[in-house]
Point group: none
Chain length 155, copies 2
Amino acid sequence: MGDTAMHKQARQDIIKTILNSYAVETQGQLVDLLADAGVQVTQATVSRDIKDMQLVKVPVANGRYRYSLPPAQQASPTEKLERTLRGVYASIDVLDKFVNLQLVPGSGPAVATLLAAQTDGRIFAMIPADASILIICRSDVAAEQLADTLQDMVG
Amino acid sequence: MGDTAMHKQARQDIIKTILNSYAVETQGQLVDLLADAGVQVTQATVSRDIKDMQLVKVPVANGRYRYSLPPAQQASPTEKLERTLRGVYASIDVLDKFVNLQLVPGSGPAVATLLAAQTDGRIFAMIPADASILIICRSDVAAEQLADTLQDMVG
DNA sequence: GCTGAATAAAAATTCAAA
DNA sequence: TTTGAATTTTTATTCAGC
């Protein structure tokens, strides 16, 4: 046993990080990856963590398996958008049916994907650019409202 | 072997139904439930079906497990690129001279290339994005017609 | 190709202990 | 309560046959 006490919660946080970085196929693999991260536990413990965290072993396209966070624990699309937007938002502007969202360079496509996942009825189309997204709304009023909504998200 | 030939697809449909009716915890249980439904297979076959169908064994609240239909597939853009419009189409919408084609993320450029090859006289210009294509038509009527055409393509 | 029987591999649990 | 070792249980795969 390592001399550093490792608590369950901390270990589970590390497991989350590992799952986001590696395609973990078995619990044995997870044991090894945890060891690499300096956390020494057995398969039994990992099995219990997986139950606790409600992780699932998903059969994926290439005929393999991988452990993954369940939909229930995955952040909702709106939460993801809000979190992301907070980090990359620069400014917002409205003209007629258009909302122009200025962002930090590189974040346009990612934010557009998150916005698209909202299925917001006010949005007709989006033109994502590197550092901005031009949103075409269904009406001038819709554009105003959307701008307000987005403004509220970033505080 | 039973004298009634049971095909994979039919069996998998039955499995779906069973999963919607029972909290199936193990593959053995599923074998039994299939037997009750008149389908005689072994655990090996069920294991393969589960892999095929991408079912997952989800740890649920009460400390038990249950098999469940696949969580929303988060396919990578690269995988989707290889598919046809039918495979990547999400929705289509019209506003004035605009047609907005919503697609799965990553497929916009590929689909736009295919669309451009059509040399459709109604299309004035296209703005492909990662997950959508904004098509600007030569007239409002042209936009309506184009939308209909595309709609028909995807059934 | 699809399957079952046998087997290997992996995962869950039991039990004792800290 | 949490854990590892050992064990049981479950699941995946191999192999042969159809």
